[in-house]
Every structure is written in C-alpha cells, then in structure tokens.
Symmetry: C2
Subunit: 269 residues, 2 copies
C-alpha cells in the first residue's frame, strides 16, 4: 500500500518515518519546493517522483499536510487525480471538509485529523466518512503484523460515516482550548497589575492539574505569538457555531474569546 | 495556643482534627446550632463553651468558617471580642476583607484562605496581613515539633503584608475556574447537539491533562447545581475587576462567564 504526500514539511516527515517503519511505501515530490523540504524528503528512504500529479496518480492513500489556506486548492487539484483515498491533515473547517467531500465523492475522501502531538509514542488519528472503517482496518492489519517495529503505536478511531464530523470535533476542541488561553491571558493580566502573578501560579498549580503551569505558560505565549492566526480561526469557529445554532446564548464564550484575540492581535501592531 | 471556631461545619471539623493532632487546643460553642453541628463538635476532643462570646474571649486565633453572606456580620461581632487574631475562611471578596481589616485593625486580622481540598494530605493555607508572618512562624514551630503526628502536612504561604491580597488571589482563581466551567458547558452543549460529545471527551482527554474528563465533568455538574450562587459570585468578581481597571478589554472573558451563568441560572427555574 502506497502513501503519497502533497507537501513535505515536519508533519509529513514524521508520518512518513512511522509509515516506513510499519512497512508501507511512501511517495512524494520536491517539485518547486524549498531546500529544507528537499532535505527532509532525502533524509528518508522514500520515493521522490518528478511532480505531484505523479504522486497523486500512484498513491493508494494521498495525504495533504500543508496549510489551511492552501488545503482546498490542493484537495481539488490533486485529490481528483487519485484513484485511492484523499486525506487532509490541514485543520480545515467543517465547511471546507464538506466542499472537498462533495467534489471528490465519499469513495475518495476521508475527513481526518491527528489529535495530540505528531511526535510522540502514540499517534492518535480520527477518521470520518464512508470508507473510514475500511482504511482503519487496513492500517490495523499492517500495524499488528510482524516484523515491523513498533516504536510508535497508531490508534485509529472511526467517529462516523459522515464527512465533516472529524472537522467538527477539531473545531469544538479549538474553540475550547482558545477559550482557555483567553481566560489565562485575561486572568494573569490582572494578576500582574496587582503584583500577584507568581502567587496565582502557585495557587492554580495546587488546585488545577499537575502540569498546569507549564501547559498554561505555553498556551499564553503561543497565543501572543500567533494572535492574528488564532483570531482568524475563531472567525471560522463562529461561522460553524452559527450553522449549528444561531442563538447568542450558544456562543457567549466563543464570541468573548474572539473579542479577546482581536484585542491581542491589534496590540501586536 | 488556643484556636476558636465560630461555626462548626465540615471545614471547622476537619481543621480541628488537624489542629488537635498537632497538639493545639480547640474551642467552639454549639449555642443555637443544628444537631449535626453538635454531633461534629462532640465527636472530637475539643472544648465546647456556652456561647461564641466566650469562644472569642478565650481564643488566640479565632476562625470563622461559615458562609460568605454571614462572614461580615460574624467578623464585626466576634472578631472585635478577641485579643488574638481573627481569620476568615468564607471566600469573602477583597472589599469585604478590607472592611473587616479596617474595623478590627491589622493587629487583629489576617486575610486568609485554604487552597485546594481541606480533606487531603496537604493543607495549603495562604495569609496576607501585618501579622501573617508571625502566625506562620508560630504554626511552623509547632508543626515541626515532636511528638505530634504528621498525617497532614501544613504548608503556609505568606503572600504579603497587605490585607486583601489573599482575597484578590481567591477572586482571580474563582474568575478563571468559573470561566473554564462556562467554556466546558458551552462546548459540550454544542457537541451534544451534534451527537459528538463522547468523541470530544476522548479527544480532549488525549490533548489536555490526564484527569481532564473527571475534573471537567465535576465542574460541569457543580456549575449546573449551583449556577445561582456562582452567578452571584461572578457579580462580585466583576465589581473587583472594575476596581482594578474599568476598561472592558480587561474583563471580556469574565463578563461572558457571568452572562453564561445568568443563562444557566434562569434555565433552572
């Protein structure tokens, strides 16, 4: 079974390493790509083809791991060339997932996401779509077959047959975690004004979970560093929430989170 | 050193047990109290006096662990009778702490809070006020003296000499944790509508901390069960935030949290 990658950044590199270790064949192309991409691709025992059309033509599973902005164009252009299944790992919105599904047909598209860190000992992948269970079964069969090494455990969860369900879950998760970031930022802004932030870290570390301070500080700094992107993602989150239920009371916290990131973004300028 | 309790509910009972195990003397009264209170008081080897005036007169440290509503009246009535130090464990607002401090004087009042569970192996107590360090030192000396048993570790943190600082920290903590509850409720309301809540629990458990699902579910149910009280606490939180900085952008998330709990509260009717 051949896995093709459109785009070859960190995520593709890590996934390829895992797929190779499980005995799968991996294809990509470095056509028009940066020297860093070429380096990553050449560092592994993968097949580098002349262009992405060939990658699409020759793959059983075609994976796009690029940016949310380029996701739709790549899906339409290359997804339609493959006879296999197209997977998108770009954090696309439920609407974009639906569009891709409508264009490629549900024989050729699975809504998918990696949850948690890509570089870890367990890779948690969520699928939804008509052929989700079939693909999960194939990967499961290979995963459990010797002699391929088992340095990374692949857990696949099939959510449903509906394209869009995995994207909805990603969106809900994103809405929640960005809300927590906004809360952290606001609370510690006030604590800092009062000269009490060190004490507040100590108190919350006692009453929240063990890793609270580390994870909260990393959330705060990533929110400051990418407030513009997060603000844009929140606009998409709210569009999605509007589709589910228009009433304000179903998105009070999400609206506030967006407003908070708008303020953060404008401060950066 | 004698510790007196005004009111003898679960918190007073647990604290008394710990204080007795460290060799301190404990006083209270069951005057006008429920039979449950009498049972709790009689279950321990403490001195039960005829009334709370006597408790106040005879205590070196006088502790009020009642309700936020009764805290101010108790502090003014009994706090002024003691020659020792009055401690309030009622989750009072920074404003109430200031009022008590002004009335009793900073020789007789320490702003204090227990953070985390009272029933645990470590008791984390925060003090602020002029005599906070002195009291912490006294307790520390006893704590480390044999032969008293050490089933509970008492950690005391002196935040500052300012009455109000510990109450401010409690208020900031409360603002943050109620915000997280509001976010959880809103996110899972939508997930439920989409039939995706089980999958969302699974995903957030992968990417949040280990105890996420247990602690989040307990937050959600306690928010539903006491939405009215939490809504009232949020009004106090916002009064406090207004005192710190009037601008809307410093309390976007807190305002949304209050609005969310207002909706929850009204649904209960």
């Amino acid at each position: 079974m051949k896995f093709g990658f459109i785009g070859f950044g960190e995520v593709s590199y890590t996934l390829s390493k895992i797929l190779l270790s499980k005995g799968f064949e991996v294809l990509t192309s470095t056509e028009g790509r940066s020297s860093k991409t070429k380096e990553l691709a050449n560092a592994l025992d993968i097949t580098v083809l002349d262009n992405f059309e060939e990658v699409a033509n020759n793959s059983d599973i075609l994976i796009s791991a690029n940016t949310p902005q380029s996701a739709l164009a790549i899906a339409l252009k290359y997804g339609s060339l493959t006879n296999g299944i197209f997977l998108d790992f770009n954090n696309i919105s439920p609407n974009t997932a639906k569009q891709i599904g409508n264009y490629l047909g549900d024989e050729h598209f699975i809504d998918s996401a990696i949850m948690g860190k890509v570089k870890s000992e367990e890779l948690n992948i969520f699928f939804s779509g008509k052929r989700a269970q079939e693909l999960a079964d194939v990967i499961e069969r290979v995963r459990t077959k010797p002699p391929h090494n088992d340095n990374v455990k692949i857990n696949i969860k099939v959510v449903s047959e509906e394209i869009g369900d995995v994207s909805k879950l990603k969106t809900l998760r994103s809405s929640y975690t960005k809300g927590v970031s906004a809360l952290l930022i606001e609370t510690f802004e006030t604590a800092q004004k009062l000269g009490l932030s060190e004490d507040l870290w100590q108190i919350l570390s006692l009453t929240e979970n063990r890793d609270f301070e580390t994870s909260a500080k990393s959330r705060i700094s990533s929110s400051y560093n990418s407030s513009k992107r997060k603000y844009e993602e929140l606009i998409e989150v709210l569009e999605f929430l509007d589709d589910v239920d228009e009433r304000r009371k179903t998105k009070i916290m999400a609206l506030a989170t967006k407003e908070k990131f708008e303020k953060l973004k404008n401060r950066e300028k």
